[in-house]
């Protein structure tokens, strides 16, 4: 009789790699080692084929044509919405608005909800971990409404200073917008705790899941998130795919940011009535092929299993932390792999990140160098830039080895 194990399913990385045609590319004569998935992920064959198949066989505008192609396109588009809603744990596909990605989604909340409901004296709470896309839209809304911005500070280990929550949260807080996983430090934030704290003071909780959604199982209902923004291109999907999950009453209460075709119910000379959510937030021709591709990406992620993906990335991040530290690099962010994702920021000896990225590229290794659109994080740690290696389903410990070996070349040049 078989013994029952309760172990996380294991990712067969060799099989996964075979699904990504770009990984067979060579760069500067070396096999590509792609360590920049936090910027954008590579795409599996099934996503490429789905987009191609859409254009080759089903292309039409969604929700418009009373013809076979129009019906097929609509069915595929709405099918993708249902798949993505299930992936996020949403109670209904209608709770997901399609957008170009996280930036558009957060701007939509900031403009459509924030500008409508925020007043002078209200406070918007952010964290110092945030990507610029979860800061700048709120600065713009604060300037327009007279609301004030506040921040949850960062501790030296790259985690949020939760002891400050009592100080920065109050009944003046109307929005608490927070990252689920930092793109710059890899920090995974305690979302349930943060969202509960927001609700305790009557604020809505807006989650930037650009980094979390590709790497970690999400259940928006269990989290009780009010809004959650995500980007398809970081989770194996096409660029300009993604969306905004919202509680239906909030999606309904907020104003549409764009007016135009398909979002209306009736148009008169002086006014218009809008369609119900999510359609009132989807003006104009949508990214039909891209969102259909994202549906395929999400199905692919589901077939691998988000727990298996998380376990794989936790292991590779732990290995990278150890190897980088041993090689003499200073690593930023949490050192405990259980509270961090696969984005590992570091500074290697006297080599500036720009120089390092250039030298690694000669070895076929793609990393990101710069401020990662997180200048508050950079300033907090007293640097203008870091080097960042970020890992995903297709990366291996052997690729970490290639990275570390390439560091030696940089060290030679700058010795």
């Amino acid at each position: 009789m078989a013994v029952t194990h309760h172990e996380a399913p294991v990712l067969d990385v060799g099989r996964v790699r075979a699904d990504f045609p770009i990984l067979s590319r060579r760069v500067n004569g070396k096999p590509l080692v792609y360590l920049d998935s936090a910027a954008t992920s590579q795409k599996p064959q099934v996503v490429i084929d789905t987009v191609r198949d859409f254009y080759e066989r089903h292309n039409a505008n969604a929700h418009r044509g009373i013809h076979t192609l129009g019906e097929e396109a609509t069915e595929l588009f709405e099918g993708a919405r249902a798949t993505i809603a299930r992936f996020l744990g949403a109670a209904s596909p209608e709770h997901v608005v399609f957008t170009r990605g996280t930036t558009e989604s957060i701007n939509m909340v900031s403009l459509g909800w924030g500008r409508k409901f925020l007043r002078e004296g209200d406070e918007i709470l952010l964290t110092e971990l945030e990507h610029h896309s979860n800061i700048v839209p709120w600065q713009m809304t604060a300037a327009a409404t007279g609301a004030t911005l506040r921040y949850v500070p960062l501790l030296d280990d790259g985690t949020l200073d939760l002891s400050a929550l009592d100080t920065v949260l109050s009944d003046r807080t109307k929005v608490f917008a927070m990252s689920g996983m930092s793109n710059a430090l890899g920090t995974i934030t305690p979302l349930p705790e943060l969202i509960e704290a927001a609700h305790r003071v009557g604020a809505i909780a807006v989650v930037d899941a650009a980094q979390l959604a590709p790497h970690h199982a999400i259940d928006v209902v269990a989290l009780d998130a009010d809004f959650l923004a995500f980007s398809g291109h970081k989770m194996l999907g096409p660029t300009s795919s993604g969306g905004l999950y919202g509680k239906p009453e909030l999606l309904d209460a907020m104003d549409p940011v764009f007016g135009g075709g398909e979002m209306i119910s009736e148009v008169f000379h002086d006014r218009a009535t809008y369609k119900p959510v999510p359609y009132k937030h989807e003006a104009g021709t949508m990214q039909v092929a891209q969102q259909v591709g994202l549906g395929a990406a999400v199905e692919y992620l589901g077939s691998l299993g988000m727990d298996a993906i998380r376990a794989h990335e936790q292991e590779i991040a732990a290995y990278a932390l150890e190897r980088l530290t041993d090689a003499g690099a200073t690593v930023y962010g949490p050192t405990d792999p259980s509270i961090r994702g696969g984005a590992v920021s570091f500074w290697f000896k006297n080599v500036h990140p720009h120089d390092l990225a250039q030298i690694l590229n000669e070895e076929g290794v793609a990393i990101r160098a710069g401020h990662h659109c997180a200048q508050l994080v950079m300033r907090r740690f007293g640097t203008a830039a870091t080097s960042r290696a970020s890992f995903y389903v297709y990366n291996t410990n052997e690729e970490v080895d290639v990275l570390v070996e390439a560091l030696a070349k940089a060290e030679d040049i700058f010795a």
Partner: protein
């Protein structure tokens, strides 16, 4: 190896031992700019007397290309009339665009940066110091002094 084209010894030397890397005191004009792509930042200080750059220095942090370019620039334009320095900035940009073939007698160490042309994304790094110099010289001394602080 292709990297030899960009990481030449003279560039690394200016990066590790930058020349004229300090602030200039009262009376100097200055200007600060950063490269939004990477956060590299350079401040250029210059004392100009009777249309001639008497002294030029810089402060900043960034990659080897941006910092070595700044260091070489301070050596290249010191003692030159402002118009000549501005002309040199234009020529340097021309070199980075691949339009001007630089000579060592005219450009000195700066010739070493020629290899950057092959790496389009790094051209901004090389040009940053020159942008700052140009703005510092173009601006009214008092105004740019205030802007730097």
């Amino acid at each position: 190896m292709a990297l030899d084209d960009i990481y030449k010894e003279v560039i690394l030397d200016h990066y590790k031992s930058p020349r004229n890397k300090r602030e200039l005191g009262d009376g100097a004009i200055s200007c600060t700019k950063n490269n939004p792509l990477c956060g590299d930042e350079i401040t250029v200080f210059a004392s100009v007397d009777d249309g001639t750059i008497r002294e030029v220095t810089f402060q900043g942090a960034g990659c080897s290309i941006s910092q070595s370019s700044a260091s070489m620039m301070t050596e290249a334009v010191a003692g030159k009339p402002v118009d000549d320095a501005l002309g040199m900035a234009a020529e340097f940009r021309g070199m980075m665009a691949g339009d001007v073939e630089p000579t060592e007698e005219h450009f000195g160490d700066l010739v070493a940066l020629k290899g950057v042309v092959k790496y389009p994304i790094r051209i901004k790094c090389a040009v940053l110091a020159w942008d700052v110099l140009q703005e510092a010289l173009a601006g009214d001394g008092e105004a740019s002094k205030a802007a730097a602080h």
